[in-house]
């Protein structure tokens, strides 16, 4: 799989000048990341075309699924955190997993990636059962994840973070490690590849800095870059936009789209509705542990029941808007809420 940035004319160009990248809030950043139809990459259009034939209902079969989950349940004491009947994830698409706090998104995510054990259920990745596969083994088979709270390895340099992620290094075997010639060649090749990826994520200049000295957004980028070093076929992002400043959100969204355009499957958990709306090809909505809706972003967003019940009736209201301080506006919103 090519890790080089495809210099495709169709691909959105990242803003380089400050006036283009003015930090204008997550909404605008996400909107800027969204591109009109004729600017979209071939991969994006193809995925949209494929998924347009899929019926938007819970548990629907996809034409080319990479991951399927069936009857997955996870209980904590008396509380059922996750209860998913059936879910299929389309290969090569960006699938967003959304839902209110406590919906069980992250728990479901942890189950899929082997970081938690279910009470029952089974799932398959690329046709192979992975129900009892450990997280590490799962990562080796091509499904790599990132974390909501970024896990940069602080006291390793940025480059070491990257090299650590490369699979199949003979120097990672205790006995192999003793003999440098056994692994120095692999290490060199990995370094070249790591630098290519770092270049693409604008981290190349930081390669010798400790990862702990990076900013929060840079750590998110590093974590994504590091995940790419494992040659994944599917990349799972746990709230990639959380705690990232709006200017960087845009660049992150571009990176996520670029992954899809290179043929990777992306599944991500997200709170930021605008980000979800603009970059995902398919949206899965969870609430109270169950999947309550799925479909293309536009139709799911228009599903009034989903929006009202799980995202709040006023999800479009900017809470940072000064108008909310106006008692009259607040009163109107409250009245609307009463009526529902």
């Amino acid at each position: 799989m090519s890790v080089e940035k495809t210099k495709n004319e169709n691909e959105p160009v990242e803003p380089t000048t400050p006036d283009e990248a003015e930090p204008i809030g997550a909404v605008a950043a996400a909107e800027a990341a969204a591109v009109s139809d004729d600017e979209r990459s071939d991969a994006a259009r193809k995925v949209t075309e494929t998924l347009s034939h899929v019926e938007a209902k819970v548990g629907v079969a996809k034409p080319d699924m990479i991951l399927t989950a069936t009857g997955v349940q996870r209980r904590f004491g008396g509380m059922t955190a996750v209860d998913v009947d059936h879910l299929e994830v389309q290969r090569g698409a960006i699938t967003a997993l959304i839902g209110p706090n406590g919906a069980g998104k992250t728990t479901f995510f942890n189950l899929l990636t082997g970081f938690d054990k279910p009470n029952q259920g089974k799932w398959e990745f690329e046709g192979r059962p992975i129900t009892h596969t450990s997280a590490a083994k799962l990562a080796r088979t091509g499904m790599v994840r990132t974390f909501q709270l970024t896990k940069a390895l602080s006291r390793l340099t940025v480059l070491q973070n990257m090299l650590l992620a490369a699979p199949g290094n003979p120097g990672e075997n205790l006995f192999g490690s003793l003999f440098r010639p056994l692994w120095s060649g692999v290490e060199k090749r990995n370094t070249v590849k790591a630098m290519e990826i770092l270049e693409r994520f604008n981290l190349a200049a930081k390669k010798d800095d400790f990862a702990g000295s990076l900013s929060g957004g840079q750590r998110k980028l590093l974590e994504m870059a590091r995940a790419l070093m494992t040659n994944p076929t599917m990349i799972m992002l746990d709230e990639p936009m959380a705690g990232v400043n709006p200017a960087l959100v845009q660049s992150l969204l571009h990176h996520v789209q670029a992954l899809r355009d290179e043929g990777m499957t992306v599944l991500f958990v997200e709170h930021d509705m605008h980000a979800v709306r603009h970059i995902s090809d398919w949206v899965v909505v969870m609430a109270e542990g169950r999947i309550v809706a799925e479909g293309p972003p536009d139709s799911v967003m228009q599903d009034q029941a989903v929006v009202d019940a799980y995202l709040g009736a006023h999800h479009d209201t900017d809470l940072g808007d000064d108008a909310l301080l106006d008692p009259a506006v607040l009163a109107r919103l409250e009245a609307e809420e009463e009526k529902r």
Binding site: T113, A136, F147, L164, E172, N173, S177, L178, G212
Partner: protein, 328 residues
């Protein structure tokens, strides 16, 4: 003046003493555990005791030196393996609790009368019972040599041969640690120290790496125990919690996760410790009895350990920058 030079020579002798080498090796093992992998082992004395018993009992039962040496190493590896299986999948604190208990269990088992036939009970095993094979190994002719102010016999307990052997083992250990920690294998260990879930998510078998580090450090600990008892005798009460905390002080003084930290830390620690004790014994002889000097010196070690952790957590050789950001 004579008094002063005697004190200085005694302290200087500590720089190359076999016990200093034993502590250095134990700290090298602990450094693999804590410095590189982040494993909290508060029972290094237990590993040392396993090595000491393993070597001494094997020799008394008739094993040749190198077989007894291997048995000592295997004893440490076995203990590490047994302790690691239940604890390495849990959070780090559990290993700390289990290692300190295990060290105490081994010490009490050693001093109990139950196996006194082998362990010698509380009085331990006399050095003469197991030193023979080691001293026969010496290539040196009999006699004595002085290098500068330091003069020792060639062969015997407190001899040049014991020193050469002990420091030789330390040197090999340093070389091995250098080889394995500069490699991708060492990088995985450091990654685990920083965040094991992240490393797991990248497809590494974290449990296996932690076990390898625990076993290697345990082997270093048990061989250190063997070095520790070669010039003296096996006495379980000499190898208790105090020993563990001395090893910790040595490692933190030199610098955790540094190659030469444990060696430098051990030399410096025992040089200063001896200087303090003999100095105070001479200087404070009219103020307090010799026994109280020992206690005072022990107390000062504790204060020193606290000061290192608070004011210079990276130790002498550590990189200040590495500790500049939040460390769990």
């Amino acid at each position: 003046m004579d008094e002063l030079s005697r004190i200085l020579i005694q302290a200087l002798g500590q720089l190359i003493a076999p016990a200093t080498a034993a502590y250095a090796l134990a700290a090298i093992g602990l450094n693999l555990h804590f410095g590189y992998t982040g494993l909290l082992n508060i029972g290094q004395a237990g590993f040392m005791l396993m090595g000491a018993y393993g070597f001494a009992i094997a020799t008394i039962e008739g094993a040749p030196f190198w077989l007894a040496f291997l048995i000592a190493a295997a004893a440490g590896a076995l203990l590490a393996f047994v302790l690691g299986i239940p604890t390495l999948k849990l959070r780090g604190d559990y290993l700390a609790i289990v290692t300190i208990s295990a060290a105490e269990i081994i010490r009490f088992a050693g001093r109990s009368t139950l196996w006194a036939e082998y362990t010698g009970g509380a009085s331990g095993l006399a050095g003469t019972a197991y030193k023979g094979t080691f001293q026969d190994l010496s290539p040196l002719p009999d006699g004595r040599t002085a290098i500068g102010p330091l003069e020792y016999i060639h062969n015997g307990s407190d001899s040049w041969w014991t020193r050469i052997f002990a420091w030789g083992v330390v040197l090999i250990a340093v070389l091995l640690v250098w080889l394995i920690t500069r490699s991708p294998w060492g990088r995985v260990l450091k990654g685990i120290r920083e965040d094991e879930d992240a490393v797991r998510a990248l497809g590494k078998n974290v449990f296996s790496y932690k076990m390898q580090a625990l076993v290697l450090g345990g082997i270093a600990g048990s061989l250190a125990g063997m070095l520790f008892v070669l010039p003296i005798s096996v006495a379980p009460d000499n190898m208790g919690r105090t020993l563990t905390f001395f090893v910790w002080t040595v490692m933190l003084l030199g610098g955790a996760a540094t190659l030469f930290g444990p060696v430098l830390g051990s030399m410096l620690f025992f040089f200063v410790y001896m200087l303090l004790r003999t100095g105070m014994r001479a200087g404070l002889s009219d103020v307090m009895p010799a026994q109280n000097v020992e206690h005072l010196a022990g107390l000062m070690v504790g204060v020193a350990l606290m000061c290192i952790v608070i004011f210079r957590p990276q130790g002498i050789l550590g990189n200040k920058k590495e500790l500049a950001f939040d460390v769990r």
